[in-house]
Symmetry: C2
Subunit: 369 residues, 2 copies
């Protein structure tokens, strides 16, 4: 194989597919990027068996062929080469010569036939969203997936399509995040659980422009994202997602409208009195026209009042401040509405159209604080 | 004590003195910032017994007094408060109330009298350099001090003044960095060893403007930097610095003039074939009109040629590439001159006026590479 392409093209492609290279693995071939120049296009592929990414780049194919190179070494070499044309040429099956201007690198390679290609997926059933929208819904929900694998289902997000509505849900046992967006077309119903890691990586790769589209298609076990010159294939998480509808209620006893920035800054300030791992709640005392926030720890105490518009009963309630911060950070509205039932029932932060709903469970606290 | 000052003034002052707060200590008082409003100015001070910093800030003193606050908590609170006036008021000897708009923080405090003040230093003997120059000479020498404390002397830098010349020297056993600058005035001779940590912190605090001056004064055991509204006092390292003059020679057998950027990029590229901790040398083959760089490791091999202007003998010599990179990075010249004697003797990188001299020892290598 011998190919020639510019540093910038190669560099962009390598950075995209590198997102699917596992950081730890016992199989050296999975740490590789496959360069496939066996047809008329140069394709780069990486695949950790859960998530696979393929992208094609412009360049000249002098001699057709396929080779796999260690992703880390290859990407570092590409990054540090001068901004000029790069020639990649195999020297037998186990060596590759990379040349750029007067710099010559010789590194080990692996034959391409050991590489696991992406599963072939028929794209008969797909929905279309803009890169911007996809990036936004991921950002606005991904923070409430669970980190650990103890409950696999919680490490993913529900993608549910009904008519022209895409609903994305994540939850971790203490909170639920829901985002609904309107699609341009209507589609047949679909319901899949996408691994959080896939969404995090997708979010890094897509540009986020409102004019660029992403086609999302589904098979029994996979979800496929296609955009620009890139295809991302990910396994789905198997099983039935949590039934969240019964947890959502539109009743409330107390409703508060408050400036989001003031609220977020206040809670953010309060957290500096809490050492990591310490589970001190922030206590919110809702009275007419004001919310008072209090926190007390070994470090000291904090007290702050914010003006608000209140409907309904007074309330004293406690929360893990991090959960409030996570939700408030991703809401773009200037004013937010908070709906409370009582000190034991979840808080709902949602807009009128319910395009977002953030449910957060309260925590017990010592009322004598 | 009760003082009022703006967030921005307080924040700037706290960030300056925080550089002298030790990250680890068994004495809680050393982790504090002292607020001294006992006279007509508000002074902030931190002191880890080696390095002490004092700065004064604008503000209103409502009630005179002194108090010490935990630096980390205090600076985080200041950072997160709204951009407005901040009131700091003692509540007895062990509590402080910090108020800004409607936010109120109560934190523990310590009485000021336990705090170690900066040593009083008479400023009768001082030199003046610009902030820019001081920052530059530190940047251009600090990389070759030794990290570890096995040889205390190597963790500092020599500051030597003779007439109107300030010479700054650092060395770590493998290399020596020397910078000479011309001062505006002539001074009586001085020779002190300044701890590297002091210089690193100074370098972060000073603005680096060419018009702003730093007064540097000396006592038997201390060096004092004064600039803007800040005073930095540091202990000196005791002892006699290494005699480096006998190591400096102006003889050479091979002289090379080469483009600095090309040289640096080439060596930088070569290092990606070396894993951390691996001591592979870069081999330089100097012939007429070109230098060839070679490196070989388990990862692969690299080979690159750069055009140069050579005088004298051909030479094959090996170096730790990191040492070459460190020196080349801080040289601002477009072209650099390298002076070699033989494969066992140090390389000198220096300009004609010898305003900088970088001496780097070569390493042995297997000539069969």
């Amino acid at each position: 194989m011998k190919i020639i392409c510019t540093k910038s093209n190669l560099s962009k492609g390598v950075s995209i597919v590198s997102k699917a290279v596992p950081s730890k693995t016992t199989m050296p071939i999975l740490e590789c990027i496959l360069i496939d120049a066996s047809t008329d296009v140069i394709k780069l592929t990486a695949n950790d068996m859960e998530l696979g990414i393929e992208t094609s780049i412009d360049g000249e194919i002098v001699e057709r062929g396929i080779i796999a190179l260690n992703a880390k070494i290859f990407s570092e070499i590409v990054r540090k080469l001068p901004d000029n044309e790069i020639v990649i040429e195999t020297q037998g099956d186990s060596q590759v010569l990379i040349t750029c201007e007067k710099a010559k690198f010789n590194i080990a390679a692996q034959p391409g036939d050991e590489f696991s290609y992406l599963p072939a997926v028929e794209k008969d059933d797909f929905i279309t969203v803009s890169e911007f929208t996809l990036k936004e819904v991921i950002r606005q929900t991904i923070f409430s997936i669970a980190d650990s694998d103890t409950n696999k289902m919680m490490t993913g997000e529900l993608f549910e399509i009904e008519d022209n509505i895409l609903k994305v849900v994540s939850l971790d046992g203490h909170r639920i995040s829901i985002r609904k967006i309107e699609l341009k077309d209507s589609y047949s119903p679909k319901k899949v659980i996408v691994p959080g890691k896939t969404l995090q990586e997708i979010s890094k790769i897509i540009g986020g422009e409102a004019e660029a589209d992403v086609d999302i298609s589904f098979t029994r076990n996979h979800i496929v994202f296609e955009f620009d010159r890139t295809v991302v294939v990910s396994r789905l998480i198997e099983g039935e997602y949590f039934r969240i509808d019964q947890m959502l209620s539109s009743d409330y006893e107390t409703k508060v409208r408050i400036n989001k920035r003031e609220l977020l800054d206040c809670i953010d300030r309060a957290t500096l009195l809490i050492k990591e791992g310490d589970k001190k709640p922030i206590i919110i005392d809702i009275k007419d026209e004001s919310m008072e926030f209090k926190i007390k720890s070994q470090i000291g105490s904090m007290d702050e009042e914010i003006m608000c518009i209140k409907e309904g009963k007074d309330l004293l309630i406690g929360f893990n401040p991090k959960f409030l911060i996570d939700a408030l950070r991703v809401i773009d509205d200037e004013e937010v509405d908070l709906y409370f039932m009582n000190a034991k029932a979840p808080l709902f932060i949602k807009d009128e159209e319910q395009s977002y709903i953030y449910l957060i469970l309260p925590v017990n606290f010592n009322a004598a604080i």
